[in-house]
Symmetry: C2
Subunit: 410 residues, 2 copies
């Protein structure tokens, strides 16, 4: 089964491509630069909604508000997002501010409070300058459009240290109707999602059961957003929200629907594309690193090992230096806390075999150097010890990561 046959990628698509969605964004003064820092996605009908959140003990105030909104009726009309301030560790005032963001957005759009989700990203521990937020929200409806311009403004508004916007759109055939799924995300630092991710938003015009959407969101997250790491730090603000307008007019999608597989494949592609884009645009990154582990004792073991390798500071530094240092790869495999046969490990860098049965294989250093200087580095670890497999994504560790994070707050 090739995924190509189940859905197609829309080159020009954005979060406003699925029917029923508008987006917009503006600069209200939360960021020191003139970049956008407030945005919204709005659906013209109540969209079936699902979300996953960070597992960090310290959860930012907006997460509480969003949970409450979705719990109300399982539907959303809009999500409002600010960057530049995470509204985390801000106490009761922070909660009050998040509720006020929700209420102000509802008022500006003529909606009910419980139809609005709230998300924030940025510095932890500072109160939102609510005067700026209030003024910004009043201006938000004027920025909304269903064209690519609105999506562009939204994508810019959610970025922090990100260098590029992250967007994707796919389409597929459900009941003979065209259904679209699109997504936008921000990432960059404090990226080591655990059962949730940095801010990511998925829109679709599919008609879908809420329970099926929530289940799909969780499953896709485990294989995509939860498989990326930039620095091993799980944020207090991670949130992934999916909204389905239902305007495609298909018969309701459930896991029993004959076209479920196509929808699920497209949905996972959207999540994976955003997750990889976050990894590739990790703070200071020059390369995307993709680690695939095969033939582990279980998928869970493969996942743990893939994440350990892709998260290793020494592996990440070696990739930055274009150094085919497989010793660091095998050392990371060995400390992942998973069952591994120490005598049966094969490792490839791209197509270059460097280790067979846990023993070094002579390889062409020049060829390896050229490969490691490329845009994407794939590391394949075959444990020859079972049938479990997984892929994880990350980036190299560079001078710029240190520079960015030694001076982020001050």
């Amino acid at each position: 089964m090739g995924v190509v046959s189940l859905f197609s990628v829309a080159a020009e698509g954005s979060i406003t491509s699925p029917k029923g969605f508008q987006a917009g964004g503006l600069h209200c003064g939360l960021k020191k630069t003139s970049r956008n820092d407030l945005g919204a996605i709005v659906c013209e009908v109540p969209a079936v909604a699902a979300a996953v959140y960070t597992t960090n003990v310290f959860q930012a105030a907006p997460l509480k508000v969003t949970r409450e909104s979705i719990a109300s009726e399982g539907r959303l009309r809009a999500v409002v997002v600010n960057s530049g301030n995470a509204n985390a560790c801000t106490g009761l005032q922070g909660e009050a501010d998040a509720y006020e963001m929700r209420a102000a957005t509802a008022q500006a759009l003529g909606l009910a409070d419980h139809e609005i989700a709230v998300a924030s990203t940025g510095v932890i521990g500072e109160l939102l300058p609510m005067d700026r937020v209030r003024d910004g929200i009043v201006g938000l409806p004027g920025t909304l459009s269903s064209g690519s311009e609105g999506a562009e403004q939204f994508c810019q508004a959610i970025l922090t240290t990100d260098l590029v916007k992250k967007e994707v759109c796919v389409s597929m055939n459900i009941d003979g109707r065209e259904v679209k799924i699109a997504g936008a995300a921000k990432g960059s630092g404090m990226i080591h999602p655990n059962m949730a991710t940095m801010l990511a938003f998925v829109t679709t015009d599919a008609v879908i059961e809420q329970k099926a959407l929530q289940g799909l969101l969780g499953a896709a997250t485990d294989l995509t957003f939860n498989m990326i790491t930039v620095d091993g730090d799980t944020s207090t603000n991670d949130m992934l929200v999916a909204m389905a307008s239902g305007l495609a007019g298909n018969s309701e999608l459930t896991t029993e629907h004959p076209d479920w597989e196509a929808f699920a494949a497209g949905f996972q592609h959207v999540c994976q594309t955003l997750a990889k884009a976050i990894a590739r645009d990790g703070e200071g990154a020059t390369r995307l690193v993709e680690v695939t582990v095969t033939n582990a004792v279980s998928d869970e073991a493969a996942r743990a090992i893939a994440k350990t390798v892709v998260g290793s500071s020494l592996v990440k530094s070696a990739v930055f230096g274009a150094d085919a240092n497989w010793g660091r790869i095998i050392a990371a495999v060995g400390r992942a806390g998973q069952p591994v046969n120490p005598d049966t490990v094969d490792i490839k860098l791209g197509d270059i075999v460097v280790l067979t049965a846990s023993r070094p294989i002579p390889f062409d250093e020049e060829e390896a150097l050229a490969y490691l200087q490329g845009d994407t580095v794939t590391i394949h670890v075959d444990l020859n010890n079972g049938t479990g497999e997984a892929t994880a994504w990350g980036c190299d560790l560079t001078y710029d990561y240190v520079r960015i994070n030694a001076a982020y707050r001050t």
Copy 2:
């Protein structure tokens, strides 16, 4: 009970200070520089011996040989160590080489094979150039001395990317006899010990039961070497060996001995001093970071949280930038996977209170900057949620860490 009353630190002491030990080292050609790369500690009598090893699945060949030697009679006469080559992932030839190192050292010193421990550190996956090792071992006995010069040559021989040697010696009174405990270690990179450490060697002239020594070694390791991290990567070669000559002439130490507490405190001080020295001299480090967690639900929870905070790339980068970014500290506390009350956390940087009951406290940024630019940064996280406590040590994340590790092998 102050530790000061139980033992005293010998400012000029070294691993040859305890009675019965000699040490030495030389350059045999394993390192590209002219620094020493082969060394030995030799005891004039069979020393009671104990060791702990890395938990990495991939264990280097010398660990197998050393385990076998200690298992034989629980005693050692010598340990031979090389740097520049880890003899890890080198297969049957690597094992044969480690056995040959042991046999050659036994022959050069006129001892039996099983009286020799072997340790290696350096690059993974390359065979030892045994001709150089053989020649070096022949020259080793000529470098041995019981004075500080021999210890100095040994300490130099075990370093890789370390900038400074790590040595400590304490003395105490057992049965009215002076007993000394001394140690030497190397660290720098791939430092995240788990039930063992990078190479470390402890000598003592105490008379001590082997079982008591092994138990003490394990307990002290958990509170010292296992509480440091440089980069989260656990090496394939970690090994800590303790040798007790018994020449102090005290009655045999067991956990029942009236002076056990003094010996254990001195022993832990030796381990902690070496562990902190490894953290302070972490690759690229400019500062030692000490994280203390108090009033956790258990000591285990405190340990996990302290290690998570001290290992966070974002916290480490902030310390390098002298940025009082407590948001990253609390985010690390929250992702440690331990029970934490999100509303009761206090955080101090040195004496500067930055968070009380999980809420920011205004502080003097200039004062914080001055503190964070110091040589040692202490972070105190009080969870106000139990009685567990722990301290972990690490270092900042700097441009030099990236530089060193982007170019280590090539």
